[in-house]
């Protein structure tokens, strides 16, 4: 059956990319980040989400199979 780690990994990778890019694009927009105590929470949260997504993706069966094939 479908390995759940694959869709989880893919979805959080996409989330991570969206939020990180948005965080980068809004760097210096201090007014926007007043509510989050002056922290660019998008950038930090985006990078964490992206990392989680990529780890899940690399652990998932479809990606592991793909990597194995390349080795041979």
């Amino acid at each position: 059956m479908l390995d759940i780690r694959f869709p989880i990994g893919l979805m959080f990778t996409i989330f991570g990319v969206i939020i990180t890019v948005y965080g980068l694009a809004t760097m210096g927009h201090d007014a926007m980040y007043v509510r989050s105590l002056g922290v660019n929470v998008n950038l930090i949260s985006g990078i964490c989400t992206l990392t989680f997504g990529l780890i899940m993706l690399f652990l998932s069966d479809p990606v592991r199979k793909m990597l194995k094939k390349k080795d041979v």
Binding site: L2, I4, F12, R35, S36, G46
Partner: protein
């Protein structure tokens, strides 16, 4: 206080990606749905960790998340009793002692276990009550979702209701229980990732745990409690009046820690179904234990921010307030909404809102997927069209029935949502009533599993008697200050409890005791109806011990249970 969020395009993009994945998972699982077992039982093929996360995720619906954050504000750290003493012992017991009978008996549902262990009428009673209860619960959560979307995002009530119902229907119709479980796991991770930034920001704003304690002291003393009453769990439970929950330690132990939590975690098919879908006996026994580990840490994500909200509310500089209801009282359930609004800018806000949406939807999907199983196996197959013997034709037929039941369940839920929108009180009342079936059910299943003398007729009477006593107690008692009959006292308000929680505890305790007494006495008076052989696999003393020696020691259920127990004890001491 304005509850509207100003969402940007980026937030809608995040939401859209989520919906795409939810539907995509349903679509990807469609090809595996070849027979009723695959659709309704996930083909008993789910890995332990996936089922374990789904196991707690089913319980972590949006109403639970919103309610628990609000309770954090109202009752402080005592709310964690719902996550520690009120959940963990029951989950460990389910894993170590009960799961092997649910899983090993070949029963496909909790009502079916009752049929195998006792008799048809006991199953029938439980199946019908359960089916009605799950559809109602799903309707109530749909209604709550639509209201929330209206208040927070400004969406139209009807459109929100139908759109969310359509999405839930689409993915449960396509992928059945597997789809519901997969989406619950997805929801679990979104909740953690979506709410964590808020939790961290709130805590750093109030100066961490120490800052929180310092700022809380004058506020809490003003309410007439000890300075650290909101940040301790057991310290002030010597008397009921010393803590904000209004219940003393023995009440918490017996009411929450035993009757309510064992009734919920060990017998509610909605929950147990996740463990029954596991790929093997060992996996099924590990499911509740794997779920228990994240369960113990969820309070830091949803309850502790609620406690911090009490500090924010009392600090005019923070500009934090809860919306008020028509009577001018703060709506505590909106605590988490207002916290998200307070701290998250566009972007992560989209993730936070998606987390709430996800938990609403997976809550509905969970109800629908439990409903269609009980309907198909315990009602349709037993009373309307029994198995014919032609396996292929049967498989196809029951798959179709299961799929139709999914559509039917969603449609009835929509109806229930509209009833709730017109007569909210009636739905609250029904939900209270149906929550009363768990305590007697636990008594009956417990006696069935661990006492070979208990008989079918006694169990049926116990189940019914316990339910009736629960009803009577609810009709005769009221929590102090109740304004509607929904809260109790609809026969005569003879008994008064300081808080609603105490009333619920005692209702459950009476129901459980009645069911136990009736079942024991009637069983002793009657002759056993089942032979030792028939009880093999259904009763503890009649079933050969499981041999775990082939499993690596650190992968054995007993070892996991030990770890879970140690974590719970350490947490309880740290936050004593």
């Amino acid at each position: 206080m304005d509850t509207k969020f100003a969402l940007g395009g980026i937030d809608y993009l995040v939401m859209a990606v989520y919906f795409l994945f939810v539907l995509g998972i349903g679509w990807a699982l469609k090809k595996y749905m070849k027979n009723a077992s695959a659709f309704l039982e996930a083909g008993r093929s789910i890995p332990a960790w996936v089922a374990g996360l789904a196991f707690i995720s089913t319980n972590l619906g949006a109403l639970e998340v919103m309610g628990m954050t609000g309770s954090g504000l109202k009752y402080g750290m005592l709310t964690t009793h719902f996550y520690w003493i009120g959940a963990i012992p029951a989950m460990v017991f389910l894993a170590l002692f009960m799961m092997r009978f649910y899983y090993g008996s070949k029963a496909r549902s909790v009502p079916e276990y009752l049929k195998l262990r006792y008799n048809e009428k006991t199953r029938g009673l439980n199946a019908i009550l359960f089916a009605v209860m799950t559809v109602l619960a799903s309707g109530i959560s749909m209604y709550a979702l639509a209201i929330l979307l209206e208040n927070v995002l400004g969406w139209n009530f009807n459109i929100s209701l139908f759109a969310s119902a359509a999405i839930v229907l689409a993915y449960t119709y396509l992928g059945g229980l597997s789809s519901a479980i997969y989406n619950e796991v997805l929801q679990f991770f979104i909740i953690v990732i979506g709410l964590l930034p808020m939790a961290i920001l709130v805590m750093s704003d109030v100066g961490g745990w120490n800052g929180l304690q310092t700022s809380l002291a004058p506020i809490v003393e003003g309410k007439g409690f000890a300075a650290d009453a909101w940040t301790s769990t057991w310290k002030y439970t010597a008397t009921a009046s010393g803590n904000p929950l209004g219940v003393a330690w023995y009440g918490i132990f017996a009411g929450l820690g035993f009757v309510l939590s064992f009734g919920y975690w060990c017998t509610n098919f909605l929950i147990v179904q996740r463990a029954m879908a596991a790929e093997s006996m060992t996996a099924a026994r590990k499911v509740p234990l794997i779920g228990a580990i994240p369960k113990m840490f969820i309070p830091f994500l949803i309850i502790v921010p609620g406690i911090a909200a009490l500090v924010l509310m009392n600090d005019p500089l923070k500009g934090f307030a809860l919306p008020l209801n028509s009577a001018g009282q703060p709506i505590y359930d909106y605590t988490i909404i207002m916290l998200l609004k307070q701290y998250l800018p566009a972007g992560v806000l989209g993730l936070g809102v998606t987390a709430l949406l996800a938990s609403f939807m997976s809550g509905m999907a969970g109800n629908v997927s439990a409903f269609n199983t009980v309907w198909t196996y315990d009602i349709y197959q037993s009373y309307i069209r029994p198995v014919t013997g032609n396996k292929d034709a049967d498989d196809k037929h029951y798959l179709k029935v299961g799929k139709m039941a999914t559509i039917f369940g969603v449609l009835v839920s929509i109806g229930a949502a509209y009833i709730a929108s017109k007569f909210g009180n009636i739905m609250d009342f029904l939900q209270t009533i149906f929550s009363m079936i768990n305590a007697p059910l636990f008594a009956v299943i417990f006696l069935g599993m661990f006492w070979k003398r208990s008989t079918g007729n006694a169990a049926f009477t116990g189940l019914l008697g316990g339910f009736i006593i629960a009803l009577l107690h609810h009709g005769l008692s009221v929590p102090e200050g109740a304004t509607t009959l929904v809260k109790g006292g609809w026969i005569a308000p003879l008994i008064t409890y300081p808080v609603e929680m105490a009333q619920n505890f005692w209702t459950a305790i009476y129901a459980f005791s009645t069911a136990t007494l009736l079942t024991v006495i009637l069983s002793l008076l009657a002759r056993r109806t089942k032979t030792d052989d028939e009880l093999n696999g259904l009763v503890y003393s009649m079933t050969p011990r499981l041999d775990d020696s082939a499993v690596l020691w650190y992968k054995r259920p007993w070892f996991l249970a030990l770890i879970v127990g140690i974590i719970m004890i350490v947490l309880s001491i740290l936050f004593w």
